[in-house]
Symmetry: C2
């Protein structure tokens, strides 16, 4: 299997559907719409939609029929980035190599665009829920993953814990598992729910993949790799505590290798063709951005 | 009918359910939870929950069975107030006579508490949607009313239009209809949907009531009545354009009387006992806060 080709197939189909969706958005004022559209279409790896679509594919479902749900997931991810970048939060002027939303549209509209994208995601998920019980279950899972017991708890913990240089590894892991992990697990579990498949194995894999993704993110930030697209070495320059700062770069690279191995092992009990996900683990481990 | 007694019955039952709900909220970090709880339980008229519960009552349904939906509606209202009060938005240090959320918990947690309340509302509505198609319909209506085609469009328009002293009456009405109106109409229409009743008359009444509510709000602000609980005369002191500024206080009072009369007329085609709503119109028109 050519991993890049497969990844691109999912991502490009998603991108096409997203642009079509954005073109159809009809509401006033124009500035609100433009602010939402800007951050939605600014690019990015589309990891969460790809996870969702490829998992549907693995379960033998017609993944091209579920692009709206992929868009809803990306809406939630995008809203979280917009709000995270705000001056009162992480205060980042760049995102995906472009000016962050509030630098383009002002803070007020960045707040509103984030709110609107979160709302839009659920508007789409309520519409999907009318298709059947399995869709409603998936919608509920997504909503819980994104909320005060999930991603938002992670954002809150990120603000509270990582500013403290004495934060424990347990606290940092809480941040990782919630802020990043929940929305990486969710697309996989949602796909399993829609397929009517028991998802515990896939859930465990998603949790490990989420940890790997966040760890490589912190490693890339520490290295200050120029292709990351965010303000470079931002965590490094700030007093923000990360696992990488706690253990150092070398130990973290080793930990990432072990996590990648754990991800591969967790795929083994899944009696499906998991090749794409095995290659995805390498991609996340070795990525440069 | 003693209007005050009836209003209090709905509001107090709601308040009891809300506190019970807040006590059951279990997630970390504590600061996020406290921030959400603070704004939810800070008081207020609970107009939207009361509209919802009293409309269910009018349709002969057991309104005490639907308190979770009333809480979800209030969560959305509360999130919008928290975000509206942020320095980048309306920049208001007080709300309901108490320090606004960001003055208590900082801007970052005010943003997150708002996000979390919006998310929580839909988490509750997804749970309710499992009860049947009419609940899913009501959930979708609420979501659309709150979103980029509804309340958030109004918040965006408020920022864009009311700063412009040449804004047209049409633009100001767009703000009123969306920012305030949508979430006053929604509880009424949702109740009708759950009752399985055609809701066009009630929807029209809700629209007029929403306009009346916003107009009396602006009149109270212009008068600088000390019981309003927000920063007094804030619109008056700022360059924010309102209908009251456009037409003057006397003409606005007259317009409010006409709107109240219109509300009463719109209740007539509804073949139910609408006495509570007739008295509610007087209450909204004559309120001091």
């Amino acid at each position: 299997m050519d991993f890049q080709v497969r990844y691109r197939e999912y991502a490009e189909e998603f991108e096409r559907a997203l642009l079509e969706f954005c073109d159809k958005m009809q509401f006033l004022p124009e500035r609100l719409k433009e602010s939402m559209r800007y951050s939605l279409t600014i690019g990015g790896k589309r990891l969460r939609p790809v996870l969702f679509l490829s998992a549907l594919d693995m379960f033998g479902l017609d993944w091209k029929k579920e692009l709206n749900i992929a868009i809803a997931i990306e809406c939630i991810h995008t809203y979280s980035l917009i709000h995270d970048d705000l001056p009162a939060m992480d205060n980042d002027d760049f995102r995906r190599g472009k000016p962050s939303n509030h630098k383009m549209f002002g803070e007020a509209h960045a707040i509103l665009a984030g709110d609107a994208l979160l709302n839009l995601a659920y508007s789409m998920m309520f519409a999907e829920s009318a298709r059947g019980e399995e869709y409603l279950r998936a919608a509920r899972y997504l909503c819980d993953a994104a909320g005060a017991g999930g991603m938002i708890a992670g954002q809150s913990a990120d603000l509270l814990y990582t500013a403290n240089q004495d934060a424990s590894e347990e606290e940092l892991r809480f941040v990782y598992d919630h802020k990043t992990g929940k929305l990486i697990v969710a697309p996989l579990v949602m796909a399993a729910m829609i397929a009517g498949v028991h998802s515990l194995d896939l859930e465990k894999f998603g949790e490990a993949l989420g940890s790997l993704f966040q760890l490589t993110d912190d490693i890339l930030d520490e290295k200050g790799d120029e292709t990351l697209g965010k303000t470079l070495g931002k965590d490094k320059a700030s007093d923000k505590l990360t696992i990488v700062k706690l253990y150092g770069l070398n130990a973290s690279e080793l930990q990432a290798d072990l996590l990648a191995e754990r991800c591969r092992l967790l795929l083994e009990p899944i009696e499906r063709d998991t090749e794409f996900f095995r290659l995805l683990v390498d991609y996340v481990r070795m990525r440069k951005k």
